[in-house]
């Protein structure tokens, strides 16, 4: 068990290291902040001065090693644009807004998605099943950008029930969480429906029925328990969808999270902030997958036996 965990941690570190190289290279492919920071009447001398100030006159490999060395010491550099604020501090200060939104969206999708999935499976072939499948199809195909604006118009402008956007108390979470969660909700619904159908047709469910176990107990204890294993498997991916989806949703809903920070720093070619955002997100992916692994050990007896 411990050996397994240590192995996973070592893998995580390698993944982070590789990611740091990839993002370092990628962010440089898209240009540099110099042209953006220069005023319209700037001269060649102004440009050279700015390049030197930003340390961009150094060869690429040296810039990377400097970045890596500093990052190991916890120094991710200063934002090129945001008043030279510490990049890590900037990212961490935006993190709670994103995590709370992703957390609430994930919770909502899990509860509703599992309920709908079970409903569709036990009412297979009926109108209810068709309605759930239609909803799932819509959720997976509607772009979140469009969906967000439609929800704002309906619930904030037309009905006046909820605020259009912004960051604040519980009511501010409803629309962005719904927008962020709908894709995953659809995925979970389809996943649960499929695995419930498989479980309901399995030998052990047939046995339970023959033994006279009530239909409720068959569905909830025997079938659902086993059907949730694939959901757990995909939890890490779902969480990833939430964080990456945040780039669009946070922009539409003026949500001050890391998704919008990522977008804004890319538009400003703010290398230190781009690198830090991506590394922090990567770290969260790895952490989420690690937790999923551990959960897996806890719920699936076959895994426990193997490790």
């Amino acid at each position: 068990m411990l050996k397994h965990l240590a192995g996973r941690l070592a893998e995580a570190l390698v993944a982070l290291l590789l990611m740091s190289l990839v993002i370092f290279l990628l962010s440089r492919v898209i240009g540099d902040p110099v042209a953006l920071l220069l005023s319209d009447s700037a001269t060649e001398a102004d440009r050279q001065m700015l390049i030197a100030q930003l340390g961009l006159d150094q060869p690429g490999w040296r810039q990377y090693l400097t970045f890596l060395g500093n990052a190991l010491k916890g120094d991710f550099g200063q934002s090129v644009t945001a008043g030279r604020e510490d990049a890590l501090h900037l990212v961490l200060s935006r993190l709670p807004a994103s995590l709370s939104l992703a957390g609430i969206a994930l919770l909502f999708t899990l509860v509703v998605g599992i309920l709908l999935g079970v409903l569709a499976a036990v009412t297979r072939g009926t109108v209810a099943d068709l309605a759930v499948r239609l909803l799932a199809l819509l959720g997976q195909s509607a772009p979140s950008f469009w969906l967000g604006i439609m929800l704002i118009y309906l619930f904030a402008v037309k009905l006046g029930w909820l605020p259009t956007s912004g960051f604040g108390g519980a009511v501010y979470y409803v629309l962005p969480a719904l927008t962020l969660g709908l894709f995953t909700l659809a995925a979970i619904t389809r996943l649960v429906r499929a695995s419930m159908l498989e479980a309901l047709g399995s030998e052990y469910v047939k046995l339970a029925r023959i033994k006279g176990v009530s239909e409720w107990a068959v569905v909830l204890r025997h079938a659902l328990g086993n059907s949730l294993i694939p959901v757990v498997t995909f939890m890490g991916t779902f969480f990833a969808t939430m964080i990456t989806g945040a780039v669009v949703v946070e922009t539409v809903f003026a949500w001050p999270g890391i998704g919008r920070l990522a977008y804004e720093s890319i538009m400003a070619r703010d290398f230190p902030v781009i690198q830090t955002v991506v590394l922090v997100i990567t770290a969260f992916f790895i952490l989420a997958n690690l937790i999923v692994d551990l959960l897996y050990l806890a719920i699936d007896p076959r895994m426990r036996a193997r490790s």
């Binding site: 898209i30 953006l36 009447s41 060649e44 440009r47 945001a82 259009t164 919008r260």
Partner: protein, 519 residues
Amino acid sequence: MKHLTPRRRAAVMGASALALLAASPGTAETLTVAIPTFSEQTMTPWAGSGQRKTYLDLVYDYLVYLDADGNAQPGLATSWEMKNEGQTWTFHLREGVPFSDDSCGTVTAEDVAYSIERIIDEDSRAGPASTMRRVIDSAEVVDEHTVRLNLKAPDFLLATGYMGEAQQVGIVCKSYIEAQGEGADSAMPVGSGPYVVSESVDGSEITLSLREGVEHWRVSPDFDTISFKAVPEEATRVAMLQAGEADIAPVSFDSIPGLEGSDLRIVSAEKTWSPVIRLGGIVQTDPERFNPDNPWADVRVRQAMNYAVDKQTIIDELFQGEGTVANGDTPIAAWDSVEPYPYDPERARELLAEAGYADGFDMTLKTFTTTPGAELPLMAEAVALYWADVGINVTIEPGDWPSIRAEWTSGKPLDFAMTHRGFPFANPENGVEAGFSTKSLFASFTSDTLEEKLAGLGAETDPAKRTQRLTDIGQYLRDEAANVFMVLANEPYGVGPRVGDWGIDTSYVYNFDQAELAE
């Protein structure tokens, strides 16, 4: 992340306690302004771009203000004089203007000299810093209320230009900034403006409170609080206006018809920006940046490209009529007499044939969106259709401004054109220099004749003759078809029913402190 100084935190807590005690409706009115970005959200004039002026203009005062016609009005400086052929400027300061922090006292020459020196410092991130460095040599304290600026080169428009409200030299309290040390960039601002920043939540909200017990020398605002919200998505800003969550927000031309018929109205800043198509590779005075292979290296082709486009129709359809056909790449009063190119596709075909392009040619047009400037890609498509009509086949390449700007300023002989938004410069000569002087990285067109004309303008000391020279340059740029001039466009704001009288005259000058509360 919230920035609150201990003093201010106590003040805010005290104020909220008072507000709870005396909570009666109508005593505290809040104006909510939704804007696309806070930019760096730093609070000192030199720690970021001019986009922060939307909120900083209410916190800092400037030496010189402008009236609706662009004439100089006294600001923190009540009078000023230029000597030594434009190389020495003396500003006489208004006395007894208190800073928002008691420890700072009133605005003195020390504060003004410090503010100017700080903004031209090497690590300044202010937009005009580099050009100001080229002009300003030193700022000298003559006495408590007199500052003298010694220039490296003549600047005949320094007062309304760099020292004016349209630029970034907001006057800070020297002792407060020095006490902040390294943290000055993230410190809460202390200025002499009508409002103080009471809270700044990163990426989300900036709250300004009206200074209590201070009769400001310039304005007496109706709103006790102004709340700025950063809302990047335009559709969301429009929804905020419709839901009554925002009182003022910039909107796109596209949204105007949808807002009509409601209790909202549109207030436009007139001719504040100028969509234009800049042709690459015609920096003719620099062999590195001149590309003679471009068909538009020939002036007749450039003129044809101007004649071929029905700009008025584009204004009516894409800009909801909010603009006029452009005679230049930026709105400059001295160019008012310059006639824009009329729509004349026949003339365009003739000119192309004369230049040897009777069968037209292929070209690339790069485009991107900005705020304002959501219409640029559509404008590119419309122009491409008009050009196709005279045989010019355009491939449109959508991109983003950072990449296109980097390519544009790369110093290479460019072979493409781009849509761009031209902005008025506080000092029109800076705008001309940025667009058309060889030494500017951004220049889109240069010529030896133009260099001579620019040098002549720089050396001219008589104000009337300077205007004449500027007009002559505008006419030359027009005749040379230096760009494909498109629109002198307005900048529309959606305004809600809680706001009474409010208008906005020019870009770069933000007067939300003058918004009146509706009766």
